[in-house]
């Protein structure tokens, strides 16, 4: 047990949550972060899907790492990711049809998410399965956290609801309050994201260039 949760593994897990966050610091996976965060629910499902896929593809690649021929290693990584993404997308279609309709093409586009290829190439190819799994979870959560924060603000101010439940009371609307339509558009996701990065860097001085 002590080995499973050593200091190094802890760092591998916690790093991507803050100091080495894939979105806020490495600025990877931006495309999907903009596209699916108009509402909280798809952002949540996207976060979970990416976490599952990055964790398991990390494990698979880590298990195979000594057998993979060097010249086709990127192809092998892609095939593993593509297979996992297809499986996840089939499961969503079977058990969460509404969400899969909403996420439409973006589930398929997880394959091209830079976070996945980045982790596989940089971490899983050189580390043991357990560490790779933890690293995948950490990066997945790091990605999901940002998506959820962006989704939270966009749905709250864009639609006045959270997860479909009305939060801003009707009396506000009667008094002249209006939903901010800009929140629903992709540019606003960029602006919120930029605010998060701003806040994050002001907290972590060592990240400032």
């Amino acid at each position: 047990m002590a080995k499973l949760f050593s200091e190094k593994t802890k760092q591998v897990f916690l790093g991507p949550l803050s100091k080495n966050n894939p979105i806020a610091v490495q600025v990877l996976g931006i495309c999907s972060a903009l596209a699916v965060t108009a509402n909280l629910k798809p952002a949540l499902v996207m976060g979970i899907s990416v976490t599952v896929i990055v964790a398991f593809s990390n494990v698979i690649i880590s298990l195979l790492r000594n057998t993979i021929p060097n010249r086709i290693r990127i192809i092998v990584q892609l095939v593993v990711v593509a297979a996992l993404v297809t499986v996840v997308s089939e499961f969503l279609k079977a058990y969460a049809y509404d969400v899969s309709v909403k996420l439409s093409v973006y589930i398929g586009l997880i394959i091209t998410n830079c976070i996945l290829m980045g982790r596989l190439e940089a971490f899983a190819m050189a580390n043991k399965p357990w560490e790779s799994f933890v690293d995948g979870l950490g990066n997945g959560f790091g990605y999901a956290v940002i998506l959820i924060v962006v989704g939270f603000f966009r749905e709250l101010f864009g639609a006045g609801s959270l997860l479909g439940f009305r939060i801003i009371p009707q009396s506000f609307y009667d008094a002249g309050y209006m939903n901010n339509g800009l929140m629903m558009m992709p540019p606003m996701a960029l602006i919120i994201l930029a605010c998060i990065i701003w806040w994050h860097r002001s907290k972590n001085k060592e990240l400032q260039e």
């Binding site: 108009a38 000594n66 057998t67 993979i68 021929p69 060097n70 010249r71 086709i72 192809i75 092998v76 095939v79 593993v80 297979a83 297809t86 499986v87 089939e90 499961f91 279609k93 079977a94 058990y95 049809y97 309709v101 439409s104 093409v105 339509g181 629903m184 558009m185 992709p186």
Partner: protein, 239 residues
Amino acid sequence: MDTNKNGYTLIYATVMVIVVALMLAFVSGALKSTQDKNVRLDKKKQILSSLWINTDGQDADALYKKYIVKELVINSKAEVLSEKPGEAFDIDIKKELSKKLEDRRLPIYVANVDGKTKYIITLLGTGLWGPIWGYLALDADKNTIFGTYFSHASETPGLGANITEAPFQQQFVGKHILNDKYEFVSVAVLKVGQTTKTQEKVDAISGGTITSKGVEKMLLTCLGQYNQFFKQTTSGGTN
């Protein structure tokens, strides 16, 4: 073992592809029936939605059985081809639209809402980025619009995508698709302020002009197929 040899690389790639293909085929096969069920259930929800029936968190299958009393297949001469349950439901409207008008098999869902007959017609068209589709419910006079449901694959969020929202769809309620000579004219979707003498109109979505025009064209072509059926109307006129 030398993992850089050509032979090893080839064998590795072949084995990997076969294993992955088998696995995906297995998953897809195992989940196929659940997925098909979802697609059919979703279609029922869409049809019910055109009658303003909210299916959220309810058994859409049971509601569908309760409200939809008959599923008809007719041709462009308004002759009934089939009344068998399920036959109209399985018609692929996209395939029918590519056939000649005389050969098309057109579905009509006959609903009974609070004792009143409604006819539901399937719509399919193109928006700005991709397909748009929907259902349109008519009153028993085959002229007055009772309700609509529109959906889309990839229209611009906040602009064209607003065709799925209630404010746009509610405009259609009570509009007439026939003129006072009982001729089919459909409903126009026009920019705010524009008017037309020959048709009734609803307001287009600002910033979503091409999608709005797509809705107008979809109504014209899809409802147009049922021209003969509408001629059986009991009361015409745009009032």
